[in-house]
């Protein structure tokens, strides 16, 4: 191909850059979204630097020097847990698991939701009816119960939790994507693409997918928050990976060891607050993104 596709693509790339810059400008104008983003970036940095900040050996039960349930002090800023481990260190390591599971599960959920939603919106007749009934099934079955069943049936581990959450949380995304697909497909340029000879793949890939992606992106940030909660819940119920630190499993051990009832607040509050802050940040960012990408929501 000559230089035209390249110049065409370069133009498209320039256009996308300009658009991205505009989205960023508008996003930066919403203060709550910016606060959420900054806090999230901090949490990310801490989670990534965990091995440097808190070497894993310091949390090794066999090499501990601190007593159990020590209140906060200069050596242990958030005290120690019933086994004498540093709570702050566990919190830092727990962020890794929470974020990893949150993002991986959301990715699974978004991929399934987008594909199913586009298919449900694009195809008509029997195909659509069948797909929508499946969506309805996942929408009405309490996803936590389903996730509990899934993670107890499958072998225990981090990825089991990811799959359990991802497979149970895509239904609402599919609904949203479907309605957007229906609205896109009613536009005349889809008719033109058909008249040009474009098949299902062409229409879905070239016209529908780019149009639903912004919506999916805004949905993603909102879903990450609920995935983090789901992970904590599953870990709290003892379905997580026992070899990993996670905020949910910290809460579980606080309950199991009686730390919660004995008044050792430094072991109960931090993981709980961490969950709340991270979820809140994702929600703030998601809402800000949503209002940038969907101008009709502005000012609400």
């Amino acid at each position: 191909m000559g230089s035209a596709p390249r110049s065409g693509r370069a133009a498209v790339a320039a256009q996308r850059r300009a658009r991205a810059a505009e989205v960023w400008r508008e996003f930066a104008a919403t203060r709550s979204g910016l606060v959420g983003l900054v806090l999230l970036a901090a949490v990310f940095a801490v989670a990534l630097l965990a091995p440097v900040l808190v070497p894993l050996e310091t949390l090794d039960v066999t090499r501990l020097t601190a007593a159990s349930n020590e209140p906060p002090s200069a050596a242990h800023l958030l005290g120690t847990d019933p086994s004498g481990r540093d709570v702050l260190g566990m919190l830092v390591w727990g962020a890794r698991v929470s974020l990893l599971v949150g993002f991986a599960a959301t990715a699974v959920s978004m991929v399934i939701g987008t594909l199913v939603g586009m298919a449900a919106g694009h195809f008509t007749g029997l195909t659509q009816a069948v797909i929508m009934r499946v969506v309805d099934f996942f929408l009405v079955v309490p996803s936590l119960v389903l996730a509990i069943v899934l993670s107890s049936v499958l072998s225990r581990g981090l990825w089991t939790i990811v799959i359990a959450i991802g497979v149970t949380s895509w239904a609402s995304t599919a609904r949203v994507v479907r309605s957007q697909t229906l609205s896109i497909e009613a536009r005349p340029y889809i008719e033109r693409a058909r008249a040009l000879g474009g098949g299902d793949g062409h229409i879905l890939g070239r016209h529908v997918l780019p149009a639903v992606l912004p919506l999916v992106l805004a949905n993603t940030t909102l879903t990450v928050g609920s995935a983090v909660i789901a992970e904590s819940t599953l870990s709290f119920l003892g379905l997580g990976d026992p070899t990993q630190f996670s905020w949910g499993s910290m809460l579980k051990s606080a309950l199991d060891t009686g730390a919660a009832t004995a008044g050792f607040w430094w072991f109960v509050l931090p993981p709980g607050l961490a969950i709340v802050v991270v979820v809140l940040c994702f929600t703030l960012v998601g809402r800000a993104l949503e209002s940038v990408l969907n101008p009709t929501l502005r000012g609400r």
């Binding site: 035209a4 110049s7 133009a11 005349p188 040009l196 000879g197 474009g198 070239r206 780019p210």
Partner: protein, 577 residues
């Protein structure tokens, strides 16, 4: 009428009015530029011009309905009183009791959740007069108003969605008349209406003007619609008045270039000067006629196509197997348990290199017929044949056919993906069909054929940066890139401005002449058929009622329905009223 009761002073007057809109970047967009115009009591004036020429801004300024960003200089007088100096209370009284507006787009100007009665009563309640004190009196007034616009009183209980487009427009007129205003401003009252309905609405309007001595200012882009109702026509362009005069003079012998363009867009059927001559060529023609040059002086340079004879010769040869044939086609739709027959046993043949105009009212099934011909809609029974071969029903097998028969849609703004560049839009078909050869060359060639030159300049543009006419050219280029043998165009110029309309039609004619590209052009506009078509097919309630060469069908119609359609062509309305 107007002459008899014309007291001194104008009902409506603009004195050196300039209106600008503040823009986001601090600059100003001048919509109306130093316009002076006076409308006498009982006078009827038509404001003509293309979109963006400032005609609606002028109308809205009368009742101070412009947005805050508008800055007005000069004075606007209603009944001798300056609107700018009116107090808020006085302005409210003037709105509707002295001057009322029939808004553009009746489809969206009515409240969908209120009955017609409540909406008309709203104006009566706000401007209560001794005659409309009690609810009973108001209801009586509503019935009276509906009768004025030829609607049965029972329709007062209807919600807007239960009314047809023409009925909604008449309700809007009734609302405007509610408080007996002296001045009525009608902003594109018939745009988006079907020709037949348009004629009815124009009838109602001109009847009211005649019987009640109203002062009417009507806005339209269609000179012949204005000529049907108004005594004088004012042509605007870029916020200025370019020509002003009695209707017959403006329509018959326009002096300004722009008026000629507008006039050429709405040809007089039967006028050989506009037969197969459109766009600039038609303007040249009009000018030539004006200066007294002989009609036949056009020559090829003036755009008279040489096609008809040549095309006619080839037609004779391949009558045996027409390029496209529709045999006894039936298309049914099921909606809420009801069967609607959109296309009712239609048979049609289109030869190669022939432009066929499919004419009919909205709802006559013409778009459904086109979609079925394109394989976008499955027929209930009957067949579509391409070069004598029935259309396959499987979608994959249709792909080859789709390359040969291409589609041009009504609204070019909506038929291009706003995110794709012109290059991508034109190359889309090439990529789908994986055509061999250099993609860039093919795209450039297609754009050149669609008269977007130099093509390289358009590659990276997105639809938003193009004008309406350019967008339609991109759609046509996208179709041409596949080297089709036939085009199906659904109202290809209905959403375009008058001067652009001529250009696009000229392009279709040139493609027919140079590439031998035939077309099935769907339209509600008989003038368009007269402009470019070889053959006219008239469709009514799903059936073809008449089919024949343009001259035969339009000059000597056989079917009653064709006659009705011809009667309501605006250029003839003037003669009838």
């Amino acid at each position: 009428m107007s002459g008899a009761q014309q007291p001194a002073g104008a009902a409506l007057e603009w004195r050196d009015v300039t209106i600008g809109y503040r823009r986001g970047d601090g600059g100003e967009l001048v919509a109306v530029d130093g316009v002076s115009l006076s409308v006498p009591r009982g006078g009827t004036v038509g404001l003509a011009g293309e979109s963006g020429c400032g005609k609606s801004t002028m109308a809205m300024s009368v009742l101070r309905l412009l947005p805050r960003s508008a800055r007005i200089t000069g004075s606007i007088l209603v009944g001798g009183e300056d609107v700018a100096t009116m107090s808020w209370g006085r302005l409210r009284a003037v709105r509707w009791t002295e001057a009322a507006i029939v808004f553009q787009g009746a489809m969206h100007s009515l409240n969908p959740v209120r009955t017609v009665r409540r909406q008309i009563r709203e104006a009566l309640e706000l401007h209560s007069s001794p005659a409309t004190r009690t609810p009973a009196q108001r209801d009586a007034r509503v019935a009276e108003l509906l009768a004025l616009v030829d609607l049965p009183a029972a329709r007062a209980e209807a919600y807007p969605h239960e009314l047809s487009g023409g009925q909604k427009q008449r309700v809007m007129i009734a609302m405007a008349l509610a408080c007996d205003p002296e001045v009525i401003i009608a902003d594109e009252p018939t745009t988006a209406l079907d020709v037949v309905v348009q004629a009815q609405v124009l009838d109602v309007l001109s009847g009211l003007v005649r019987d009640r001595g109203l002062t009417l200012v009507m806005i339209s882009h269609d000179l012949s619609v204005l000529a049907a109702v108004c005594e004088r026509i004012v042509v605007m362009r870029h916020g200025r008045i370019v020509e002003e005069g009695p209707s017959e003079q403006i329509l018959g012998s326009p002096r300004h270039e722009h008026t000629r363009e507008l006039a050429a867009a709405f040809p007089v059927i039967g006028d050989p000067g506009s037969r197969r001559v459109v766009g600039r060529a038609a303007v040249t023609r009009l000018r030539a006629r004006e200066s007294g040059a002989p009609e036949e002086d056009g020559g090829p340079a003036a755009g008279v196509p040489a096609a008809p004879d040549g095309a006619a010769a080839t037609h004779a040869e391949d009558t045996a197997t027409p390029l496209l044939e529709v045999r006894d086609l039936v298309v049914d739709f099921r909606s809420r348990g009801q069967h609607v027959r959109a296309v009712d046993h239609v048979s049609l043949r289109c030869r190669a290199g022939e432009i066929v105009a499919l004419v009919g009212q909205s709802g006559s099934g013409k778009t459904t017929l086109a979609r079925t011909v394109l394989g976008l809609q499955r027929p209930t029974s009957g067949q579509v044949l391409h070069r004598g071969v029935p259309l396959p029903t499987a979608r994959a097998a249709l792909k080859a056919y789709r390359r040969a028969v291409q589609f041009v849609l009504q609204d070019p703004s909506a038929s291009l993906n706003p995110k794709h560049t012109v290059y991508e839009a034109v190359a889309e078909g090439l990529r789908i069909h994986r055509l061999p050869g250099d993609e860039r060359e093919r795209v450039a060639a297609a754009l050149t054929q669609a008269e977007l030159t130099p093509p390289e300049q358009f590659f990276a543009r997105i639809p938003q940066e193009l004008s309406g006419g350019q967008r339609q050219r991109v759609v046509i280029a996208g179709a041409l890139a596949l080297e089709p043998s036939f085009l199906v165009a659904d109202e290809p110029v209905a959403s375009l401005d008058a001067s652009v309309r001529g250009e696009i039609l000229a392009l279709l004619l040139r493609l027919q002449r140079e590439l031998g590209l035939g077309a099935l052009v769907i339209t509600h506009d008989l003038g368009l058929a007269w402009n470019i078509a070889d053959r006219v097919v008239v469709m009514h309630q799903g059936r073809l009622v008449e089919d024949g060469p343009v001259e035969q069908v339009l000059l000597d119609p056989q079917h009653d329905y064709t006659r009705t359609l011809l009667d309501v062509v605006p250029s003839r309305l003037g003669a009838r009223l």
